[in-house]
Subunit: 651 residues, 2 copies
């Protein structure tokens, strides 16, 4: 834990600040006092029993600053109880992972003394967030001072204040020393090594670590493809009927790596204690609204929204809208083909160097347009999914992912499918693929890392300058650090990062047999992606709250769906190659039947393979069953003791 | 519970006999005494704490009878504790299903007085079986009197004695009164009504009730098919290119019914308390052998067998054997086609009535041969799966099901596929289908119900006669009932019954568009099947121990795999119909591409549909989540109380 920064509690003792709460500038005094009181109150009275103090503004604060910034911390005991509350898994003395309990604390491997240092800072912050989110209204009818800000028993206070805008933000603090060490071992020190996944998990949580783990795994898995692709590219540039072998390899490759990733991610998640962790009951997400009713599961008062209405919105508005967007995307694609034809015409009429360059222009424009359309659609999808009014964050997320995936897939690959299967022009396919891939990579890197960094720099320039002037190399005071971090952009989750990987996976698995250099380009992109993502996480964004995750969730499904589509596409490409066609000189029907048969065989093998390879490695399965068995035995023993205490001859 | 029969316990009180243990005739006295002692011993000393008495042979016992027959029962208290042990779910006062606990017993809906009648007889028998199976060796090195019958601490005594042949059988007793009522409402009283599934479950357990539920559901689901099929059969006998509509209907039908069954079976299982019941840790199955080692999960001494060896046996012996059998089956099929050709030749040369009959002979012979091959293969597969030495009964079962399914599928359908897609002879296909279907149904009914019944009758003729002579209409004494039931055949589980349904489902979903009467035949067969199965369960077989089951297990998967194959087959049949062919007069390639595209679209929709339709109905999902939520809340409350008792200011 950070020792350098500390805050004086109201009773004079110090505590380490972990999380920052920023209230709106004009928040009424009574609301603030009420909130702080609730946060500090003992748990048996329904409080969160946390430590919270107002941030003393920095000494050199000349400009107008928001005084309503509070730092939250907790005693070690409180955090340990909280760890039990959220169901944290930790390594036990015997090397297995077990749910932490306060009573049993001394039997956990890294528990020493009074438990200082047992929980990582990210875990402490996660616990505090959980406790704050679970701060519920008792009998207050509204937030004091705001008669319109209705509350009902059981409503999360923090969520209500957030949705009404009094609470500007809640975010965890960075730890400068740890961040420095992490960023050094992660990306500053350029050498050939794996990423420090455990350290990333320690600092940013399991969700983030799994993303970086997947990114790394995906890159490594692409290296064989890239190595095979280079000689193909160098020696067979025009002899593109040899790609059948490559397509076959492609098929095996994308099935196997996805299965192996499941096992690897299970291993990682077991070691991080998230594999067998039980999901807590999910609260309605902040944006959810409805008529106040009684939740049939919890029996608590809660807004309810009819499922039928939601279904109507999905089927009558969202789906037609998505279809309309797909049509629009097709329309843009046809325009691109017109431009392409026009450029080709000019080049054919009078070929010069400049008309040669002109041939690439339509593809580049199209790639840029695709990225812009994806971006606009993303906002529309987010709005629409919000409007569908899903109760849970996870359902919201799934519907959003589905909407965005379908459109992005269509938008990025429709033209390639058209070229491959309607125009059957392999030279054009290769050229389009290369342009799309390279352009979208360049755009992505700019949009994702350099643009936010540049904006951030510009914003903080003054602050930086002033600080360096006054402080030199000295430590920043807490108030300055909080101010600096509060102004950083908020990291919106791994969605866009996974989406990018998904599209890259598509380029490689669907068409790389036509353009074997695709894998090489994706490997290069991924290597820079690791660095730029690491850089943006450490310096551009606010620290995100850690998200416990046992797997990459809906993305596993998306990647598997893509690999099924890849089987179909690759089989079709194989069937279209002159090499295979030459085996069936008379009958095209025979050729197609063979290819279809082969494709069905591959799909069946794929499903059998998915079924046969266990998702969790054997040694972890054994550990999991042992835990389950032990808890069953303990229960049985307890029951037997209870039973033997009761006289049984009372017949 | 049965009041009519009772046995005097050693201390003079009576108890209701539930389960019979039969030891071999020549079992040594000391082994018997030891076993009975262990069964009677208190639980804290490692006994089963059950009541057990030797059966007093009937007064008229003139022939030589085995005296080593024991009846087992238990006090109500013991059974209630046992119900908690096995994790029985019962209806709570608030209408939800909850895990039964002795401490909470008065809050369960049907608990009255001292709990007599709360558990059904089947449940009591299941509990007793569970307690007997869990009777474990303590420090005995072998069964007393049998130095070669090794025991080690933790070894199930009953299983060892069973595998060594001292224990002949353990079976639950029938309850004549209840059985009479059940059989009357089930099959004796011919009227149009659903089966009394709850009563079946009450008497035979959940596994059996789910089988009959599925049989009924499947029959009802077939009725629309049958209704559509009849006019097709009557009016379009020769116009078999109209079957495309029928094939389309077929596709939708088989996807939808399987999805709906999942929901229905979840509803049934919830009501029976098996849906959320946790699986206990699985013990090695009786036939499993290996070198004594330590189980990594339980830490108990247990035979271990290397997984690598098992894999070798599977891949080097079992799979080649199965492939060989498939080849053999193909060979037999080719012989059948030779016979078919020969019969056709004779008929064409000089057509008479008798040569017309001759045309059907090869199909009938082939159908009989298929049934015989299936039967022989079944034994081989059982032997082979036993030899693979699987540790768990469930894995054993899965490997056996897989082996048998693949062969039976191949054996039954290969000739039909050959006729449909290689010979493309729809008339022959229809004729073969009809012959196969009818012959196999007749054979099945004979093999399954009438043969055992006839054998049984013959065996019991003497006994019956004698009894009727001496007793008239009076109740049978217990000893006679036990003797009668001990001689009945043992019911070997629902495997063969499901297999039969699976093959019938195959006939209907794969080819019924060619022979629309198939659905009608299957409906007729299923109706008689309900009666013959009900009859055989009630009168032919020993009562089986009830098997708690939440779904039809691996069969759901098998039926779904079949429905996927049905999509492919039906699309191919559609593509081959003259009607569809006439849409593409010039290009066969175009036709195939369209059909393949359509098939891919159907397969994709099928998977999406499976994914979109929730497997558990909403109202049951809510009940399940409520239970989970309540247990989480209770845990939290308990922890909070504990925590508030501990001073927290000890920093």
């Amino acid at each position: 834990m950070q020792k350098s920064l500390s805050v004086y509690d109201s009773d004079g003792s110090t505590f380490a600040p972990l999380v920052v709460i920023e209230l709106a500038l004009e928040t009424k005094e009574e609301a603030i006092a009420w909130l702080l009181n609730r946060v500090r109150d003992k748990q048996q009275y329904g409080g969160a029993e946390l430590l919270v103090e107002q941030l003393t503004p920095g000494a050199q604060g000349t400009e107008k600053v928001n005084p309503n910034v509070y730092v939250v911390g907790a005693s070690w005991q409180r955090l340990l109880y909280g760890a039990e509350d959220v169901g944290l898994f930790k390594e036990f003395n015997d090397g297995s992972m077990r749910g932490f309990t306060y009573a049993n604390k001394h039997n956990f491997k890294e528990f020493q003394g009074d438990g200082d240092g047992f929980l990582s800072m990210a875990e402490c912050q996660y616990i505090i967030k959980h406790e704050l989110d679970n701060l519920r209204a008792k009998d207050e009818a509204h937030v004091p001072g705001y008669p319109k800000m209705k509350l009902y028993p059981g409503k999360s206070v923090i969520r209500r204040m957030q949705s009404k805008g009094i609470l500007v933000q809640v975010f965890p603090l960075h730890e400068k020393e740890e961040l420095k060490r992490l960023s050094f071992s992660w990306y500053k020190n350029i050498k050939l090594s794996f990423q420090p996944l455990d350290d990333i998990r320690h600092y940013f949580g399991e969700g983030m670590a799994l993303y970086f783990g997947f990114l790394e795994y995906f890159t490594l898995a692409l290296i064989p493809m890239a190595l095979i692709g280079i000689p193909y590219y160098l020696f067979d540039w025009e002899d593109y009927d040899k790609f059948t072998v490559f397509a076959g390899f492609n098929l095996v490759w994308c099935t196997v790596i996805l299965e192996l990733w499941k096992r690897l991610s299970a291993s990682l998640a077991y070691g991080w204690g998230t594999l067998s962790r039980k999901k807590a009951f999910e609260e309605p997400r902040p944006g959810f609204h409805g008529v106040l009713g009684v939740n049939p599961v919890t029996g608590r008062a809660e807004p309810l929204y009819s499922n039928a209405k939601r279904q109507l919105r999905i089927y009558l508005v969202s789906i037609p809208f998505v279809l309309l967007c797909l049509y629009l995307s097709l329309y843009v694609m046809m325009i691109y083909f017109d431009m392409e034809g026009w450029a080709l015409m000019i080049h054919d009429e009078e070929p010069t160097f400049w008309t040669g360059v002109l041939l690439f222009i339509p593809s580049i424009i199209y790639a840029v347009v695709i990225e812009i359309m994806n971006l606009i659609y993303r906002y529309a999808a987010e709005f629409l999914t919000g409007w569908e009014n899903h109760r849970l964050k996870s359902t919201f997320q799934n519907h959003l992912v589905l909407k965005v995936l379908v459109f992005n897939f269509f938008n990025c690959f429709a033209s390639l499918f058209y070229i491959a299967f309607v125009m059957q022009d392999m030279v054009l396919l290769r050229q389009s693929l290369a342009t799309l891939l390279i352009t979208s990579q360049i755009l992505n890197q700019i949009m994702e890392a350099f643009l936010p960094y540049w904006l951030q720099r510009r914003r903080n320039k003054k602050a930086h300058k002033r600080m360096i002037k006054t402080m030199g190399d000295k430590e920043l005071p807490l108030s300055e650090q909080v101010k600096l971090e509060a102004d950083m952009s908020t990291y919106l989750g791994t969605f866009d990062d996974y989406l990018e990987l998904f599209l890259l996976f598509g380029y490689v698995s669907l068409f790389s047999c036509v353009y074997p250099l695709a894998a090489v380009l994706v490997v290069l992109n991924n290597v820079t992606e690791v660095y730029s993502d690491a850089f943006k996480m450490c310096t551009v964004f606010k620290r995100p709250f850690s998200e416990p995750a046992a797997n990459i969730g809906v993305w596993q499904l998306a990647f598997e769906a893509m690999s099924v589509i890849a089987v179909v596409t690759n089989c079709a490409l194989i069937g279209m190659s002159p090499q295979v066609k030459s085996y069936f000189p008379e009958s095209e029907t025979q050729l197609i039947l063979w290819v279809v048969g082969f494709e069905h065989f591959l799909l069946a093998s794929k499903f059998i393979l998915t079924f046969v390879i266990p998702d969790v490695p054997k040694h972890i399965q054994i550990k999991l069953s042992r835990l389950e068995f032990e808890s069953l035995e303990a229960l049985k023993k307890r029951k037997m003791l209870e039973a033997s205490g009761i006289p049984k001859t009372d017949k």
